[in-house]
Amino acid sequence: MSGPPPRLPRIAAAILALAASRETRADVLSDLEDEYHQVARERGTAAARRWCWTQVALSLAPLVRSRKGDRVITTVASDLRYAARLARRAPLVTLSVIVAIGGGIAAATAIVSVMEGVFLRPLPFSRPGELLQLSTVIERFGRAPEMNYLDAGDLRAQASSLAGVAQYDAGPGTARLDPGAPALSITVVSAGRDLAGLLDLPATTGRSFAASDFANGAAPVALLTDRFWRRRFGGDAGVIGRSIDIGSDRTQIVGVLPPAANHFPAGGSDVWIPLTFSADSFLNQRGSIALAAIGRLRTGQSRDTAQAEVSTIADRLAKTYPDTNRSRRFAVDELQGAMAGPVRPMVMLIAGAIALLLAVACANIANLLLAHAQARAPELALRGAIGASRGRLLRQLWTETLALFAVAGTAGVVCSLPLARALVARYPEALPLAADVQLDLRVLAIAALVTLVAALTAGLPLARRASGWSASAALAASARATAGRGDRRMSGLFVAAQVALSMVLLFGGLVLARTFLNIAAVSPGFDPHDVVTLRASIPSSSLADERRMLAMQDTLRDAGAALPGVESAAHAMFIPFTPGSWGDGFRRVGTADRIGPDGPFGHFYMVSPEYFTVMRLPLLRGRPLAATDDERASKVLVVSETFARKLYSNADAVGQRIEWNDGVWQIVGVAADARHGSLWDAPDADVYVPRRQVPRGNTWLLLRTPRPAAAVLADLQRKAGALDPGIILSDAMPMADRLSDSAAAERFRALVTSGLALLALALALVGLHGVVAYAVVRRTREIGIRLALGERPAAVRRTVIVDALRAIVTGLLPGVAAAWWIGRWLDTTGLVRADLNLSLAAVAMTFLLAGLLAAAGPAWRASRVDPIAALRAE
């Protein structure tokens, strides 16, 4: 083992430094460091860390004890001892604070550590501030984080503010590490030749890509990311030179990327291969926008300069290539912001919900502390009477509160790391960087600050009350054993605050839950149940010969249809709710349409004729695609209902012709609308094209069968292997799962916010119940007198319930206002689709009913007070 020695855990050292006296501090730390390195050398870093923390834990007591002479330490220590005794005497109060506040702090720390990883920690590339994401903006479609290949080349050559422009494509793929082994699903980056250089990611083992790797027809090579290399090959340098199957290409591993590449693009990747395509590929035409692009500012240049410059270039391109670039502009954004941007609304939403929950918990605990202090009023008054100054009493109260919160905060921080990991693991979208969420000093400082603020919030009312106590008044009050008017008002305010805050949270949870249910209830237009989908990679040797490729696709489909339990089978270039689509412009024959950015636009799906049967996608007019619509027959299409309505409003679309992809096509049928990308968006103008008339290698198989996807995959892979061992089947998944995965973000949002909201509701109700019950106990004598004077029990019940309702309504009014405002904000984030007013009304009703329920018990007990017992109790 060489390299620099591992660094002493900074947090441990800081704790020790704090505990040690000024005289011993330097010696203690120096010893700790020396021995830490010694243990690390002998037994490894992990053992050294354990040793270090044990030392710190054992050293605290002797170090603090040795500072006895220190006056502050002595007082604080005696206050702490007193607080600990009190905490043991009132275990329920202690436990409530630790659970409510500890839970809140745990959630808050977890989300802060995620936010730090996503938004604050700089990307691990050299000079990350210079990195840019390049996007294309088309007036009609908005912004896409992608760029045309030729446009990007022009930017690279002409933009002097940019040191470089690199393109890539990231997507799902398969890897087979040994012949005959099952294929792994991986994320593959097809890297343009400048990508590794631009991000400054030279291979750490083996070599980087060479210029010759990007030549058309070059032998396939791959770089592994550090993560994939360690996970799948145990970090063995011997893999360099080995060959694995990526897709169906036998690919030689030439190098390993540095760990920083694990974080690019957002969500990470496993394998990089050179981005290559033939000169006649659609990628090489001005019309296509399909590759992601990043750039690096030349040192000293600003983003604004770059933006101005690329805009000028866009104008120039629009004049040179009006057909394609007429309404095309470019945008440059800082890479970090661009990577974090998509997740910002959801993360902020969760953070907001957690902040609300923590606030509810604080209000709850403030009330609890106030009630608890009420019970202690005689003790405090006595201490005051025998000479404790007001300042001394306040210090005592603050020490108690802060110590209690410190314990709760520590417990929260300890629980936060697993909580943050669970959050990241279940997070339904790619989170940049947060995969290695950690509790660093910054997060701990924020957690400490949050704990302190929570303690101050919850402790302040108590301290305010305490400083108003005069000994005689308190002793008199204790003699009466009833609460003063001020205390009751304060308790009521805290209940109102809890109601208001948790109402906002419950409203958010309900709106997001409704949104998810509304989305999930949208019909995709086809029947996704009992359809198994899987991807087939056909070896490039077969792809080169179009006839062989078409035959292989049909053979695979027929093999699938012949499997036991399979009703029908089809193949397609793209399938719904799975990345990949072909959006394109076209021209209606007999009109003045121009093909291009302002002409008609549709989504084209190449499918085998059985597609409609397998998907149970109804045909509304005309005829479906048929097996006879092959490469020799005339070109035909089936269009969607939206297509027919948008482009041929009243006229029958069947029989109409369009010009597209260098040919003239006749519409022979109209199919029902189907959703392909998301259940949120309205159906598009879709076009179904016979596969044989636009042959493409990309192949998905669709099988209508009730059998599990894995079993179908295994059966079909056996048959395909007999056909050609190079065929690799992967990504087997029921269509219904693809559909529900498309709403995973909505489901996650709904679950997290509803869960937090229910916790807040429970806290608020427990708080309300506590306050009402306590008020009844304190007013027992008053109630007894009233009953003795002849007031009916029903009237007593009413008084108690009206009091409770008053507290609820006091909170409900600001709660409704805040929820309404939050609802409007949620609407602008595009995260919700639900009736906001209805939800608001439902939440308000819930609180009224739940409040009545919480007050019912105490009210009943109040009406059952025995007047004689109540009066005698004094």
């Binding site: 020790l16 505990a19 040690a20 006296s21 005289e23 011993t24 010696d27 203690v28 120096s30 010893d31 700790l32 020396d34 021995e35 044990t54 030392q55 054992l58 050293s59 605290l60 007591a61 002797p62 170090l63 004890r65 040795s66």
Partner: protein
């Protein structure tokens, strides 16, 4: 015998460890010496708190070394027993021996 010469159990261990370590007696060696001989985990903080107390009582003295001859080397405090410290060790050891005298070998920890 003055009252200040009475030392606690752990103080005694530290004094003895200093004597054992000779010229090399500083925090790390003292701690490791006690740990090695007693088989108990000894806290750095306890050692230094005790050293400070013994220094106050005049039982130990220290000198600050030149920085260690390595990059970033630190100054160390090397401890030695004062005459009073030596007396305290002798006194405590003698008292212990006298107290144990006559007990069964099991209780004296010899078997």
């Amino acid at each position: 015998m003055a009252k200040g010469d009475f030392v606690g159990e752990f103080e005694l261990y530290v004094l003895i460890a200093i004597a054992h370590a000779g010229d090399e007696a500083y925090g790390v060696t003292i701690r490791q010496e006690i740990e090695r001989r007693t088989g108990r985990v000894v806290a750095i903080g306890a050692v230094h708190a005790t050293l400070a107390r013994l220094d106050e009582k005049g039982l130990v003295r220290y000198r600050v070394s030149d920085p260690q001859p390595v990059p970033g080397g630190k100054r160390r405090k090397f401890f030695r027993l004062t005459a009073a410290g030596e007396r305290a060790v002798r006194h405590s050891a003698g008292m212990l021996a006298r107290m144990l005298d006559g007990l069964s070998p099991e209780l004296r920890g010899l078997r």
